[in-house]
Structure formats: C-alpha cells, structure tokens
C-alpha cells in the first residue's frame, strides 16, 4: 500500500505543481506579462537609430537604442485614448552585454560582478503586482528609491558582492549608489526578461529612471527608455492600441503605426506561447509522475505476489469449500481495488503535501512566484491511476491465486504459489500494458505517443529486468570468504531473484535519473571552467569602454605598471568585415556579372558577423594546423592572416565558384599563400593567408571569428569595434589587480574570470534544481520499493530469521545479514544507474557534440553513497523490528 501511496503522491504532487504554475502564469497573464502591452525598442544599430546618450557623443558600443522624442510624443498622444489606463517606462540597461557592479567605500569583496540593471519609475513599476523588498522586509520598491543615487539589489548579487543595506556600490565604475533594499531573486522573473525555461539572471538591480546618477552612468538623456509597459482597460483596448489586425483602430493610429521597428506584444498575444511552455512543463512533470507510478507498480506486483502467496492456504480452504478459480480471482481483485483505493487516498494526501513542498523548488527554477492552490484534477487523476495501476499490477498474482489446488490444505506449511503459465502471463502482460497505454495516452493527450511510449517503456523495462535477473544470479555466485552472514545474504538474494531484480530495477531507474542530472551538471560546469580557461587564457578580463587607441595605450601602461602580469593578450575586434577578393579577383556579388550566379547554398559572400581579431597570442600554444603555419612573434605588424576551419565553406573547393553559362567555374578558393582582401568598416585591407587551423573555433576572448591576424597588422586608421585584454596575474592577486585597473583607467571594466565562471555555475544550478528534485523523487519512490521489498522479504523469512535466532544468532547478526543483502542491491543499483547514465550521455554526446560528458569521480561516489544510504535506510525500517522478534512467536504461528 505504501508503494501505491508513493507513486500516487508523486503524480498528484507533480501535476498539482504543473497546474499551479500554469494557473499562476495564465490566470493573471497581465502580471506574468507585466502589462497589457509591452513595447520595446528593437536593436536598430546599423541603420539610422536613436541610442542612449547620442546627444553627448558617447560611444554607441555600450548603449542601447531608446525611444526617440517623437516616439514618446506619439505614445503620449495615444495615451489620451480611453482604453489607455496607465503606463510606465523602463530602461533595460545593456541587454546585449552584462553590466558590472562593485562594492565601493571599502565594503564587500572588492571584485566586479555581472548584473542586469533595470531603470524604473519606482512609484509606478510594476503596473501589475508589486515588488516588495526582503530587506527591509515588505518595503515596496517605490519607497526604497526616493532620492538620487539609491539602488535595490537582488539577494544573490548582494551576497555575491558582499554588501548589505547602507553599503555603497558602483555600476560601470559610476559614482556610488547607496544600497537601500534587497529584493528576492524571483522579483525580476517575467516572460519579458526571462522566457520560461530560461532562468533569468538572479543578479540584477533596480535604480530610478529619473535618477541623474543613473542617467549619467548609462549615458541617458532625460526621458530615455527602451521599454514601455502599458495598462489598458480591456484586452480589446490592448489589441486596438497595439495595432493587432482587425482590432478596431486603423494601423496608423496604433503603437505599431508609430514605428515598424518596435517589438510590440499584448498579453493576449503572449498567452499561447506561455501556455505552450507551461503545457510542456506540465507534461514533463506528469511523465515524471507516471514513471514514479510504474516503479510503484513494481512494488505493488511484489506485494500482491507475497500477499497471495502467504494466503495460499486460505485460497485452498476456499476452493475445498467449492469456490471456483474465477470467484477466488474476483475476491482478490476486489481486495486489490480496495488496497489501491486506500493507498491512493493516502497518496493523494501525501501528494498535496509534496506539491506544496515542491513549489519552492519550482519557484527557484522559474525564478517566479507560484501561487500554490489545491487542484481537483490531479486528485481525481491520482485516485483513478492508483486504483488502475494496482489492479493492473496485482492481476498476475491474482491469476495465479485462482489456480491454487485445494489439496494445499492437507499439506501444512505450503505457501508456494502456482505459476500462471507463460502464454497466459504474456497475454495478460500485453493486455495490461494496453490498459496502462490507455491511461498514459489520456494523460499525454496523444494516442500514438501514449501507446508506443508505454509498449516501448515496457519492452525496455523487460529487457532491463532480464539483464538485472542475470546480475542477481551472478551476485548469488560471489564468493563468501567463509562468512556465514555473507553467505546467507547472497542466498537470500538469489532465492527471490525476481523480486531482487525488480527492486534493483526501481533503484536503477531512480539512480539513473539522479546520475544523469549530476553528471550533466558536472560536465557543464567543467565545460564552463575549461572553456573559460582556454578562451580567456587569463584570470582577468579587461574591457575598454570605447575601442579608442588612446585609452588602449593608457591601458597598456597600466597593465605594465601592475608589474605582475605573467601574460597579456590584447584583442581587437572588427565586426562586419567582409572578404571581398582573393588574389585581387573580386568575389561575385549580387548585381555583378549577370552571367555569374553563385552556386546555391552559398548565398551572399557577405558574412556580416565575421570578425577580425588582432592579437599577440602567437605564443607557445599553437593550435593544430590543417595547412601552413600559425602566427609567430615575428608576424607582429605583418599583413598576414590565419583562418579557422569555420566556416566550412572557406575550406570547400566550391568556395567562390561562379557560373559561366551553366558550368560552374572556380574563381576563387583560399589557399595558403593567397592574398585575401577584406572590407573592414569601409576600408580595404589585404592580408596574406599563411595557415589554416584545424579547430572549428577561433576564439580570442569572447570573440568568435574566422580570421586571426597579428598585432598591428590592421592599420590604426581602421576603426575597431572593441578592444580588450586578457591578463594573467598570480593566483590571489587578481582582485587587487582588478581593483587597481578599474581605479586607474577611466571607464574600464576589469572582471575576474572566476566571476564569469560562477555566473554560469549559478545559472546551471538553477537550471538543474527542478530536474534534481524530480530525480530525488524517483529515487524516493525507489527507496519505498526497497522498504517494501525488504518488508516482504522479512515477512517471508520470519521463520528463517526465527530459526537463526533459535540456533544462537544474535539480533545484530540477523540485522547485518539483511543490511548486507540490501546494501549489495544499493551498490549494484547505483553502479548500473551511473553506468547507464554515462552510456546514454555518451551516445547523446555523439549526436549532439555540444553536450559535454565528463563525469566527476567525486559525484559518482556521491551517487553510489546515496544509493547505499537509500538501500540501507529503507532496509533498516523493516529489518530492525524483524531482527528483534522473539523466535517462539514466529515458530508457533508461522
């Protein structure tokens, strides 16, 4: 009954959570969406645009586009419309690159950290719902930011920087802001800033939009903003104002009419997307619940086998009194239904508690508050599924009960259940799978997936069970080294191989889930570490505020002045560089020779995202080359270039083909020795190709480009898109060095690479929190099965235990025997779970090479320890009382 309750609890708990999430985000769609209409400025750089701070000649590289004055006036005019109730402007700072925060005035840890600043109108934002501080507890955002230079931080960033209320911080090396409040990490959660399933950065801050210090920090003029939230009277008003087709207002008189470059979304428009996302989440959680229930089903099967087996005598008596097999089976089915019902009711109650407990994890995962509520749907589902699964899994033993021969009554001590026959069993199993398939299909809402999924899962489970049977058989053959306890344990395992295998199966499923999450999380973290190390090649990242060569020279001097830089790599990026000619032969362009059409697939030879990197990274760690050579120090200032293997077409023989008539002719293929001519920010630069690298990526800093050129190969007259340094300083010196560079170079941002790593890890932790909880839940169900199995095993072996005690075994010896037995199961279950997880991840890695697989031995030990702990803990529950029983009590009544 416990097994049923655990399975039903999982299904009720998870489905309730899914429904609560759905209700929370869809019932109050305005709160989720933060407004009835959200208008944001798309990135209009590259064309005529308005960017923050354009009036004062600041660099466009770090500023975001904002609404123009005309656009704001147009909004104001629209606001006169009756349907427009309220609105508030927000400036989401630097959405394309993170901002930086550091403690000021001696407080905090001294380092700089990433964060996402939101400049808001404190009294008005948010239009729906409210944000209250966790410190000072309950204070509304509007009351925190009342004077210039005040800031409210998320809990996570406050902890990271090491500041509290009353401390000062700087943003982008700005003047100091006074920390007035700390808000929960969930406060920023919304589809706008964080689409569901992509957890938002928990590092953010709010400052007032009209705060002059904030405006100065982000180069904003008065009134500059890039997002507008609008509250309307009705959804129809929102549609009309937004300019949704056929909504009433002529398109020209709507928000979409003001500018075609706005990103406009009404709450209603956002709803299907949100519903889809929550629907996927719901199905994911439901399937997790169903898996738990199937594991629970195995427990039910075991329970029914023992229950019926122990009542063979009773069945024999009933038959000797004239009851038919069918009538006996009916009796047991009724019993199974009752058992299923009582177990399911207990499971529903447990599940309600579970869903309440899981809400916290869900909130952490989604970075959003979830309104927990009692739902009727999962309760009904839980009851129905619980009873169905109990009857389904209980049916095979019941079938066997009907075949008990009445003469068992004459043979005392007989409790052997007859077999139900292989063909009959197979037919029954297939029929029962169909029943489960129907249930699964109804839940998933797709018959094909439900039925194929169920039969597929049953087939996998059957194969796995067979393999586990073999494992249990092999374990029974292990040497016992003369230990009677070990011998009895191994014999105990091999006596009930089927049950041991099914217990193992439950454990393996739970531990597989846990191992997958743990190994994947580990691999991702290691991948982040390795990538950062290999990409950045240093422990400090210095980013200049503008790609200005004068500031670059100043930065070089300051880095020299540090006196402890072990290695310095300077990187210059050139966005929008275009390869235009090879050996002087122009590559085909649209509008060129009418007879020369480019082969399909190549498209334009413009590759706008290509960057040229300038570096002195021609150091010892030369990468593998396909052809030619890597850069050497002597290349400094020479007009040479190496190319990565990416893009692949550059390596392809068809590169640069053009058609003459119908026959394609190679007009250009980059070979080592060729001169490549690029159009870089309006200027032509010709470089000799000296080598082709084997690697797919050619990274310098955060830039991912196709070409690498030596330092000073590109004339200073060609404008850079950005300039940065990667600096390696001795361990332990990075914080001080970062602080020194930040202090001495105006506007520079120096970040410790560790901070970047910890950012990624924090995000990974958030992504993995819910799957981890689900795997723990699967493991919990596995633990329940073990407890159930041990209880059954001890029930069956009460006589054996009593006998052992009769001939002098002490209680601890008996306990040790049962614990060894289950400890072996735990270790094997853990090992198989880990191996399966690694296997699946390795296969997945072959298909999807971006997903790294690098299991951490410590984590594997952790999973094995969990497996052992779960097995021993569950075993102890029933083994302890069994080991304490008085022998005569058992011998007399068994």
């Amino acid at each position: 009954m416990f097994a049923i309750a655990a399975g039903v609890a999982a299904i009720v708990g998870l489905q309730s959570l899914a429904l609560s999430v759905e209700d929370t985000v869809t019932n109050d769609i305005q709160t989720t969406h933060q407004a009835d209409i959200v208008v944001s400025v798309e990135d209009r750089r590259g064309g005529s645009q308005t960017t923050a701070g354009t009036g004062v000649g600041e660099s466009p590289a770090f500023a975001s586009p904002v609404f123009s004055e005309e656009e704001r006036s147009a909004f104001q005019e629209l606001a006169a419309n009756d349907g427009w109730v309220d609105s508030t402007y927000v400036y989401v700072a630097n959405p394309e690159r993170p901002s930086f925060i550091a403690a000021a005035g001696g407080a905090g840890t001294g380092g700089q950290f990433f964060l996402q600043p939101y400049l808001i109108e404190p009294g008005k934002y948010p239009l729906y719902g409210e944000i209250r501080a966790v410190e000072p507890k309950g204070a509304p955002l509007g009351e925190l930011l009342t004077s210039p230079g005040e800031i409210a931080l998320s809990r996570s960033i406050a902890n990271r920087v090491g500041v509290g209320i009353g401390d000062s911080v700087t943003l982008e090396n700005s003047r100091a802001f006074l920390v007035k409040g700390i808000v929960s990490n969930e406060a920023a959660g919304s589809p706008l800033f964080a689409p569901i399933f992509v957890p938002p950065l928990p590092w953010f801050a709010y400052v007032a939009l009209d705060d002059p210090i904030a405006r100065e920090t982000f180069n904003l003029d008065e009134g500059d903003a890039n997002v507008l939230f609008i509250k309307t009277r009705t959804p129809a008003d929102a549609a009309a104002l937004a300019g949704v087709e056929r909504s009433g207002l002529p398109a020209g008189e709507s928000i979409r009419g003001i500018s075609s470059t706005f990103d406009v979304e009404t709450a209603e428009e956002a709803l299907p997307e949100i519903e889809d996302a929550t629907d996927i989440l719901g199905k994911f959680l439901l399937i997790a619940g169903l898996v738990s229930l199937v594991i629970g089903g195995i427990g039910i099967l075991n329970t029914m086998l023992v229950v019926v087996g122990r009542r063979t005598m009773e069945v024999g008596i009933l038959k000797s009194l004239g009851l038919k097999g069918r009538q006996i089976a009916t009796l047991f089915v009724i019993e199974a239904v009752l058992m299923g019902l009582v177990g399911s009711i207990a499971g529903v109650l447990l599940g309600i508690l579970l869903s309440f407990a899981l809400t916290g994890f869900g909130e952490q995962f989604l970075q959003s508050n979830i309104d927990w509520s009692l739902q009727t749907e999962p309760i009904i589902n839980g009851l129905v599924v619980g009873v169905v699964v109990t009857v389904v899994f209980g049916f095979l033993p019941v079938l066997a009960a009907g075949r008990v021969r009445p003469n068992v009554v004459l043979q005392a001590q007989s409790s052997t259940l007859p077999r139900s026959g292989r063909v009959v069993s197979l037919v029954v199993v297939l029929a029962l799978a169909a029943v489960i398939g129907v249930v699964a299909s109804v839940f998933v809402g797709n018959w094909t997936i439900g039925m194929i999924g169920t039969y597929g899962a049953m087939a996998i489970l059957a194969l796995l069970s067979l393999a586990l049977l073999l494992v249990v058989w092999l374990v029974g053959k292990l040497p016992t080294f003369g230990s009677i306890t070990l011998k009895l344990s191994l014999r105990g395992l091999s006596r009930q191989r089927g049950r041991a295998a099914s217990t193992l199966l439950a454990l393996v499923v739970g531990l597989f889930a846990m191992s997958t999450i743990v190994i994947l999380g580990d691999s991702m973290k290691q991948f982040v570490d390795e990538t950062l190390e290999s990409e950045l090649g240093g422990n400090l990242l210095v980013i200049l505020p503008d790609p200005d060569l004068e500031i670059r020279d100043q930065a070089r001097d300051e880095i020299d002045r540090l006196g402890q830089a072990e290695r310095v790599v300077e990187t210059h990026e050139f966005e929008n560089a275009t390869l235009v000619a090879i050996n002087g032969a122009a590559l085909g362009r649209p509008g060129g020779d009418p007879g020369a059409t480019r082969p399909p697939g190549l498209g334009s030879l413009q590759f706008a995202s290509t960057m040229l990197a300038q570096s002195d990274a021609s150091a010892d760690d030369a990468p593998e080359m396909l052809e030619g050579r890597y850069l050497v120090p002597e290349d400094a200032g020479r007009a040479v270039v190496v190319v990565g293997s990416d893009p692949p077409w550059l390596q392809s023989p068809i590169f640069g083909r053009a058609s003459v008539g119908n026959e394609p002719t190679i007009i250009g293929r980059a070979l080592v020795g060729d001169d490549l001519t690029f159009l870089v920010n309006g200027q032509e630069v010709t470089l000799a190709l000296v080598g082709k690298m084997a690697s797919n990526h050619l990274h310098v800093g955060f830039s991912q480009g196709h070409f690498l050129v030596p330092m000073d190969a590109i004339p200073d007259s060609v404008p850079r898109s950005s300039i940065g340094f990667q600096v390696t300083v001795p361990e332990g010196e990075s914080a001080a060095a970062a602080a020194q560079l930040n202090r001495n170079i105006p506007g520079v941002v120096t970040v410790e690479v560790d901070a970047i790593a910890s950012l990624f890890k924090e995000i990974l932790d958030r992504i993995t929190v819910l799957p981890s909880v689900l795997s723990a839940l699967a493991l919990f169900t596995g633990a329940v099965i073990i407890a159930n199995s041990v209880a059954l095993a001890t029930l069956e072996r009460r006589r054996e235990i009593a006998l052992m005690k009769t001939v002098g075994a002490k209680a601890n010896k008996v306990l040790t025997m049962l614990l060894i037995e289950n400890g072996i199961l735990g270790i094997i279950g853990g090992a198989i779970g880990v191996l399966l997880a690694i296997l699946i991840l390795v296969i997945f890695h072959q298909v999807q090479p971006d997903v790294p697989v690098s299991p951490n031995p410590l984590s594997i030990l952790f999973v094995l320890a969990v497996a052992l702990g779960v097995a021993l803990g569950a075993a102890l529950l029933s083994a302890w009382p069994a080991s304490r029983e008085k022998p005569l009590e058992v011998l007399r009544y068994e």
């Binding site: 009895l488 091999s494 001939v807 002098g808 002490k810 008085k886």
Partner: protein, 228 residues
C-alpha cells in the same frame, strides 16, 4: 521429581505464561515446576493446547515467561537480555522441531554448520564437526543436498545433527516424529537417543506417541497449563 542427590540441569519454578488473543487472555502455563537432572530423558505428554510446546520454548529461552524462573545448569535465564539468551541457545541448547525447520537456501552441511559458525570462541571447526555429525546420523552421502531435495526423515536427521552441533547440555525436541511415518519416526528416534547417549546430554521431548514416551526415564503429563 528428580532425586535431590543428582545434579539438576534444567529447573523451572512457578512458570506462568499468558497470551492476549483478541479480547481474551489465554493462560498457557499456570504455575509449572519441573526439574530435570543431567543426562535424564524426560517425555512430556498432553493434549493439543495443553501448553507442552510453550513450556519447551520457555525452557529453551525462545520466549520469556510471564512469571516464574528458568535455570539451566544453575543459571537463571529469565533475567537475561536477548544477546545473552542467544548465547545460551547457541551453546547450551539444541532444538529439534516437528517441521524440521531447516533453512531452505542452505545445504544439509551448511545447516549443521550454522550453530558452530554463530558461536563465539567455539570449540569446533564448523565444517569438520558438521561432517562428523551428518555421518553420525547416516547422511554422509547427502551433505550437499538442500532441504527440498531430502525426505522428511532425512531432514529430521539433519535437524538432529544441527541440534548436536555445539555439543549442548540440553536437547529440546518438540514432537520430533509428529510429521513422519511410523518406521521413519522410529528410526529418527533411534538416532536421537543414540546421539544423546554419545553426548550425555539431557533430553526433554514433547510427544503424543506413547511408544516414544516409554523410552524416556520419566514421563510427565500436561493438562490445561499444569503438570499433573
């Protein structure tokens, strides 16, 4: 009663045992006094439910009495904890049951080895001792057989060998022939008596069989929880 001049191996004084069965209290033993001298063979007769098996179980430390005391070789076992009782059962007492009660997953040899392996600081090598005892009961050819592969008589012989494993002072047999046919029963009893004679152990056996009882030094009858 045994003569006062002989050494008393087993003594029970004013033994009482009460069970709660549903709403009623069953008085299985209602003040039993018994003393068995060293090497004596005592048969206990009585109708079903008269308290014979309960008495035997309490004498062997398998259960605790509700009142009274039990002494084995002068040592009061009623005050002992579970571990001390296990030690007494292991070293001082051998049990033979009606339904053999062998461990089904172990071979005949392993079943007989069990008490020796459970004993701490024992005097025997378990394998050698088990082989000797199984030879003594005539099962030297069936050492590797599991209980399921042995006949009832053979199983009971294994049980007798197991009871003798640690050369106990007392053997308690609860209807040892109750589940066997007459011929097998007689042969098993011969083996039991022979084994007892070899070791000089005290034997208390519960039986319905008057012929078996006739082979004892003394016969006691139980009725409604009392020796009459």
């Amino acid at each position: 009663m045994a003569s006062d001049t002989s050494e008393v191996m087993l003594r029970a004084t004013m033994l009482e045992k009460h069970f709660q069965m549903g709403d009623t209290v069953v008085h299985a033993l209602r003040g039993v006094d018994i003393a068995v001298t060293k090497g004596e063979i005592v048969a206990i007769l009585g109708a079903s439910g008269s308290g014979k098996s309960t008495l035997l179980g309490i004498l062997g430390g398998l259960d605790a009495p509700s009142a009274g005391r039990v002494e084995i070789a002068g040592v009061d076992i009623t005050k002992m904890n579970e571990n001390e009782l296990a030690e007494i059962r292991n070293k001082k007492i051998g049990f033979v049951f009606q339904f053999f009660n062998l461990i089904s997953t172990l071979t005949a040899l392993e079943n007989v080895e069990l008490p020796v392996q459970f004993s701490t600081g024992g005097q025997f090598s378990s394998r050698k001792r088990a082989e000797e005892l199984l030879a003594l009961v005539g099962l030297q050819e069936r050492l590797r057989h599991r209980p399921g592969q042995l006949s009832g008589g053979e199983q009971q012989r294994v049980a007798i060998a197991r009871a003798m494993a640690n050369a106990p002072d007392v053997i308690l047999a609860d209807e040892p022939t109750g589940n066997l046919d007459t011929a097998t029963g007689e042969s098993v009893m011969n083996i039991l008596f022979d084994a007892r004679r070899e070791t000089g152990a005290t034997l208390v056996l519960v039986t319905h069989d008057a012929q078996v009882a006739a082979r004892a030094n003394r016969t006691l009858t139980m009725q409604d929880g009392l020796l009459v």
